[in-house]
């Protein structure tokens, strides 16, 4: 049953091409996090709002983002919107899908962080003569940052891994896409995907390690 001969040389020759793909992967992940974090703040505020008309769509977004497969979310951005005549390129669809997913998860992270800080902290700031916004910025925000930092970096790793779903919408410039193309040309499936897996692993580990280091430097309390 084992008559497969490994041919690693071919895979290693393709390494520069794959690393270029990894850069695209990182680019999508970082952009999706920036967009996701922006929308996460908006969603978190909307979900705490008194107005049903703000709460309902925000809740729907969070529910769908967290409780349906990320693959479907990316599919919807590409093929789903396509049925309405809105055509997103594979890059844009992948970015939109992951950003949508990130925003859903992160809004809950941010909301939880906000809740974890007692109102008395603001009161203490106000009683020292700070304005509401000033007290929020100087006292609440830094504490929220600490609480949500590692969960946010976790989501970053998750975003990096989610980019591999781009192959399903024809994305061919990121690490997964490049690997898939190489595989299609050579049929050295195991070698190429094993090498890609190692690259994903190294990136994910590096991000988490750097985050822990940064957290240790930033949060000394």
């Amino acid at each position: 049953m084992f008559n497969y001969t490994f041919q690693w040389r071919q895979a290693f020759r393709a390494l520069p091409e794959m690393l270029d793909g990894a850069l695209v992967t990182l680019q999508i992940a970082v952009l999706s996090m920036l967009i996701g974090m922006t929308f996460a703040v908006i969603l978190a505020v909307a979900r705490n709002s008194a107005s049903r008309w703000l709460r309902a769509p925000a809740t729907a977004w969070v529910e769908v983002a967290r409780n349906t497969p990320a693959l479907f979310q990316i599919y919807m951005a590409h093929f789903g919107l396509g049925s309405f005549g809105i055509y997103l390129s594979p890059f844009a669809a992948l970015l939109a899908g992951i950003a949508f997913n990130n925003a859903g998860y992160l809004s809950e992270t941010f909301r939880g962080a906000l809740r974890a800080i007692p109102d008395t902290q603001i009161r203490a700031g106000r009683s020292l003569g700070m304005g509401q916004a000033q007290a929020f910025r100087l006292i609440v925000m830094p504490q929220m940052l600490r609480i949500s930092f590692l969960p946010t970096m976790n989501q970053t790793v998750w975003a990096i891994l989610m980019t591999s779903l781009g192959v399903t919408v024809g994305m061919n410039t990121d690490l997964a896409g490049v690997t898939q193309d190489l595989n299609a040309r050579s049929f050295r499936t195991f070698e190429f995907f094993a090498l890609a897996a190692v690259i994903y692993y190294v990136i994910a580990k590096a991000v988490m390690l750097a985050s822990r280091l940064a957290a240790w430097r930033m949060f000394r309390y």
């Binding site: 008395t120 009161r123 203490a124 009683s127 020292l128 700070m130 304005g131 504490q143 949060f219 309390y221």
Partner: protein
Amino acid sequence: MIEIENVHKSFGALEVLKGIDLTVEKGEVVSVIGGSGSGKSTLLTCINGLEPINTGRIVVDGTEVHAASTDLNRLRRKIGIVFQQFNAFPHLTVLENVTLALRKVLGKSRGEAEEIAARQLGHVGLGDKLKVYPGRLSGGQQQRMAIARALAMSPDYILFDEVTSALDPQLVGEVLDTLKLLAEEGMTMICVTHEMNFARDVSHRVAFFHKGVMAEIGAPDQIFGAPERPETREFLSNVR
């Protein structure tokens, strides 16, 4: 001078202050005693405008606290408050807890703020804890830090809201000693407290609150020695 005139305050249907009249002169130490739910803590948060009032007025040095035109942020610089739950800022060191408002509210330079903060922290016995985070401090130390934080703003008045109630019994003494020191230095203080010995020894006047009303006010000797109202007598016989 703090002038409180016929102040009524409700939380929803519950009226917690039912027409309070009280004037506190500069340099005076007034202790407020009474059962829980008698409205004494609420009065403090009304004085510095953290809570709105329903009717009546509170005037601090000629400025009406709840007037729409009053800049509360500015007014609060002269009215310090220390809470039962110390409300230390956990993300800042002891020194930074004190310098934050000095720099960001009063606009002092870092150097000047740190000098003031170090002096105040030394004053409350925390001179060796400047670089420590509040999480490493005992409750009594955190509360003394909160007192230094309020003092650093050089307020004209300080309100103390049951500042020893959340402390372990063995830590109460160090905080009360700090309060006594301030009283001796002539700080104007309103102390809501359950520490009857402190109220008797330190205050110029003691007010007894009962069900949202100031039932009785007088010199400590009179309130503790010869209370006029039956509610006061009953309360004092229960706490002793």
